[in-house]
């Protein structure tokens, strides 16, 4: 119906099939963040009725199956309870347990069509599409749809005050999850080696990549695969495979979550020090330790920025939605090869596993990978002596050679101390020359990574600045819009990458009051900003939301308002 929509699956870490909630937000203003209040709860499971009833906002509605009446103890005065005897209607209309059970869900949909004024033609078309190959089921589905529809029409004042109206706001959009989009990014980036170990919520990324490869990467002549995906024995091996493949010259990646990042730590230090490219997806979930595997968080920021022992620093990209998962995956491979270092794409469970409405992904056929400074056989033939870690161009990036290309390109990769030629060293000056160049390389990266996105009214600087990154973007935009409606003008900077460039520092300097909004307990982004930009810690006020659910705009608005009131008082 062309209406902006978003869906969030709130599910338990469980295989047995414990209760799951699916939250759908529909907004004519295009807001797609998780809302703080729920207008209508469709209760499907008697076991969770108490929770379901409590979730409805005052003045809202609850739709449930009244074949088994609701416990009066649960009833609320301030909401409207809509009971439809779905179970009984289906028992009367259908035969067989299976059909009676399955059709109940469709009957629910029918009632919603009436209550919310959903376009019956659109829904009918969807059902016809869905069952195009199972025509026998078409009739049952339409009958069930009408059971619910007719009952609601007859017994309730339809439509409700909340209703759907056809719009034209999603024409150029698709509904996609971030892991699928990231996998597409890897496909289009030309990645050929994928290594992984199953882990929620990162598993679906490699599964999506596998599916895409089966479709687009089978050599038409030989029917053999133009890719190699290896399910490793653990995340350590997944990282090792990625690095080995990157060393050999392939675009390689792995996808994991916090526990895997911890395990990869040693290998990341090796790749950083030996300067081997690789792309590492971290689909963050709630930590620490096993934490809550099916809940979201932004709590791996500090560990990723400086992952591994010794002096290290890494490039990280922070996609805000599945669209950016696609484009940033691509950028990650280019950056990894250009800077010859591991690059992290830091997503989260909310972005990775939920369906988001994003602009249709587009592609420019003129794109060619940035392979960075790689010497080919001819170039190697011409040079006197190849020195792996020599900074010829003054940007901190040395040229590399790939194994097997030319005898002159051979060198010895070592995680032990090495000089600029790649030879083993325990000499202080020779050692420092290399690690200082590495620092310079990461400095060069500051302005090569995506710059922050800054939202300002008419280019004029407001006294208040909000800072956030990643998947909280939708809630941040909504909060800013609502605050503007209350005559509170705030600027907003969404950080897109680490290490931070000059623009990030400038934004912090330009605002009297800065709120750093993030989904972790310890204000990790604020710490990073303090360490990296030198901005005093007490100039940055944290707004922290770390219960594991996607951020709501209300949370940001409430905290900003409270802080402003307190500072006035």
């Amino acid at each position: 119906m062309g209406i902006p929509v978003s869906g969030k699956n709130v599910f338990p870490s469980n295989i047995q099939g414990l209760p799951t909630w699916y939250e759908i937000r529909v907004s004519k203003d295009g807001h797609t963040a998780r809302p703080a209040h729920i207008d209508l709860v469709v209760a499907l499971n008697p076991a969770t009725y108490a929770k379901d009833v409590a979730a409805v906002r005052p003045g809202g509605w609850l739709l449930y199956d009244s074949s088994w009446p609701l416990d009066q103890a649960l009833a609320r005065e301030d909401i409207t309870i809509l009971g439809v005897p779905f179970g009984r209607l289906c028992v009367e209309a259908f035969t067989g347990d299976r059909e009676r059970t399955l059709m109940r869900n469709i009957a629910y949909t029918g009632a919603l069509v009436a209550l919310l004024d959903i376009d019956m033609d659109v829904l009918g078309e969807m059902i016809r599409e869905q069952f195009a190959k199972k025509r026998a089921l078409l009739d049952s589905n339409f009958r069930a749809l009408h059971l619910g529809y007719d009952y609601a029409k007859k017994h309730f004042p339809c439509p409700l005050p909340i209703r759907l109206e056809r719009m034209n706001a999603s024409r150029e959009h698709v509904l996609m999850d971030g892991n699928t989009a990231a996998a597409l990014g890897c496909l289009y980036a030309g990645a050929t080696v994928g290594a992984w170990y199953p882990i929620t919520p990162a598993t679906s990324l490699m599964e999506a990549f596998t599916g895409l490869c089966k479709r687009y990467r089978v050599d038409p002549e030989t029917k053999r695969n133009n890719y190699c995906i290896l399910q490793a024995e653990d995340e350590l091996a997944a990282a090792g495979i990625t690095i080995g493949a990157g060393w050999a010259g392939a675009r390689a990646f792995t996808s994991t979550a916090g526990p895997g990042i911890s395990l990869m730590s040693e290998f990341i230090g090796l790749a950083y020090y030996t300067e081997i490219p690789g792309v590492f997806f971290d689909i963050q979930r709630t930590g620490p330790s096993t934490g809550m595997p099916t809940r979201t968080q932004q709590a791996d920021l500090l560990s990723i920025a400086y992952l591994s022992h010794g002096d290290t620093k890494h490039i990280a990209l922070f996609p805000a939605d599945p669209g950016e998962c696609f484009y940033m995956s691509l950028a990650a491979f280019d950056l990894a090869e250009r800077f010859q270092t591991p690059v992290f794409v830091v997503s989260d469970l909310d972005i990775g596993m939920n369906d988001w409405m994003v602009k249709r992904l587009t592609w420019d056929d003129n794109y060619r990978p940035d392979r960075g400074k790689v010497l080919d056989a001819e170039q190697l033939e011409r040079i006197q002596r190849f020195s792996r870690y020599l900074d010829v161009d003054g940007d901190g990036i040395a040229a590399r050679s790939l194994p097997g290309v030319h005898p002159k390109g051979a060198y010895f990769v070592r995680g032990s101390g090495h000089d600029k030629h790649g030879a083993y060293t325990e000499d202080a000056a020779e050692y420092q020359e290399v690690v200082d160049r590495l620092a310079k390389k990461l400095k060069t990266a500051e302005e090569a990574v995506p710059a922050p996105e800054i939202h300002q009214r008419n280019g004029a600087t407001a006294p208040i600045g909000l800072v956030a990154l990643g998947g909280t973007h939708a809630a941040m935009l909504e909060a800013r819009a609502v605050l503007a409606g209350q005559d509170i003008n705030v600027d907003y900077m969404r950080i897109k990458a680490f290490p931070f460039g000059e623009a990030v520092r400038h934004f912090l300097d330009a605002h009297e009051t800065v709120f750093v909004v993030e989904q972790n307990r310890d204000a990790q982004l604020r710490s990073l900003l303090t360490i990296e930009t030198g901005v005093p810690r007490d100039r940055l006020t944290p707004i922290l939301d770390y219960g594991g659910l996607p951020l709501t705009a209300e949370r940001v608005i409430g905290d900003v308002a409270r802080h402003l009131e307190a500072s006035v008082a």
């Binding site: 490793a232 392939a250 420019d364």
Partner: protein, 351 residues
């Protein structure tokens, strides 16, 4: 102190191989291991094997982890790419490199600590994956770089330099590899180069994961009376199954006339491995028999050496992954990116 390069001295009467290279061209930096270390003998055998197989040094990749043995990749074939990775994790790095470029010849050098303790999981899974590589485990039963602690291959009762006996049961890499389904399993002795070289050549030619456990005594920490990994103990107790001859494909015609061979296995590339004087009771393609043979001799306190098991028919990592013959690193980007039109069509599926 940087590593010491050997002076490129070339004796006029040095033999050349088919590539016109001499054995010197297959050497590396000067070894920094202790004088008399078994590992240096293994290094010499590796130099000879690569030289005799006419392998262009830059087409070989030397992979290693951490430890005395892992350092030796710097001591042979200076014109080869080397990768000294992290402790116990070389197999995954080698797997990734091989996934990306299947045309290189991969040799992994590891030790008993690197392979059987910290890296046991990686070794097991590289065997399962059947990565096409030669994995040389230089086994001395002791941690040399950290000065003499027992490793997981130390035998029960074997004494440390201080005279304390080891009490934990050893992990035998040969039995481990056999039970995990390894497709090429051998055991050698660093003190017997004549028999080690053909074994290395066969291992390099094998399609799939070839493991050679080489007893390679540590002269500094484990070569004393009471040690079961000393030169003396190994010499007195090793029991050669059968010496093997490696007959490369191109020399087949002349070698075919040699007599005295009872068993031979044809390698993937057509080369032949001949088992000299092996009795009719031993079949190197029978995994269970190989296992039993090693166990029987172990009971008697003997160390069985030789090419113990070989399977040239199994699928390697790329067969399993059904990868194209051409190395993935050589595929042009244009053949990897589906392009704008495909993306537009795909987007319609997500409306």
């Amino acid at each position: 102190m940087t590593s010491i390069q050997k002076p490129p001295v070339r004796h006029p009467s040095l033999q050349s191989n088919a590539l016109g290279l001499t054995r010197r061209d297959y050497e590396g930096a000067m070894s920094t291991l202790c004088a008399g270390c078994g590992h240096d003998s293994v290094t010499a055998a590796i130099v000879q094997a690569f030289f005799e197989l006419d392998i262009p040094p830059h087409r070989a990749a030397k992979m290693s982890g951490i430890g005395c043995s892992s350092k030796t990749t710097a001591y042979f074939m200076r014109q080869s790419h080397g990768f000294n990775s992290v402790h116990g994790r070389m197999p995954s790095v080698a797997s990734g490199a091989n996934a990306a470029n299947r045309d290189l010849i991969y040799i992994g050098i590891s030790g008993d600590g690197d392979s059987l303790s910290i890296g046991l999981g990686q070794l097991c899974h590289a065997i399962r994956r059947n990565v096409d590589m030669l994995y040389v485990l230089e086994n001395n039963g002791v941690y040399g770089l950290t000065k003499g602690q027992f490793s997981a291959s130390a035998d029960v009762g074997s004494k440390s330099k201080r005279g304390e006996p080891n009490v934990q049961k050893p992990i035998d890499p040969v039995l481990l590899a056999l039970s995990l389904g390894a497709t090429f399993v051998a055991r050698g002795f660093s003190g017997d180069k004549a028999r080690l070289v053909p074994m290395l050549k066969a291992g390099l030619t094998h399609k799939g994961f070839a493991i050679i456990d080489v007893i390679s005594p540590c002269v500094t920490f484990n070569d004393h009376e009471g040690s079961t990994k000393s030169y003396r103990f190994t010499r007195e107790n090793y029991h050669e199954l059968a010496a093997v001859d490696f007959v490369p494909l191109q020399r087949e015609i002349t070698a075919a006339t040699e007599a005295g061979t009872s068993v031979s296995v044809t390698m993937h590339d057509g080369s032949i491995v001949r088992f000299r004087e092996v009795g009719s009771e031993y079949d190197p393609t029978d995994r269970d028999a190989a296992y039993a043979h090693v166990r029987t001799h172990q009971e008697r306190g003997e160390i069985v050496t030789g090419l113990l098991y070989i399977d040239e028919q199994s699928s390697d990592m790329h067969d399993i992954a059904h990868t194209v013959e051409r190395p993935l690193v050589e595929l042009p980007y244009e053949s990897l990116c589906p392009g704008r039109e495909a993306l537009e069509k795909l987007m319609d599926e997500y409306r």
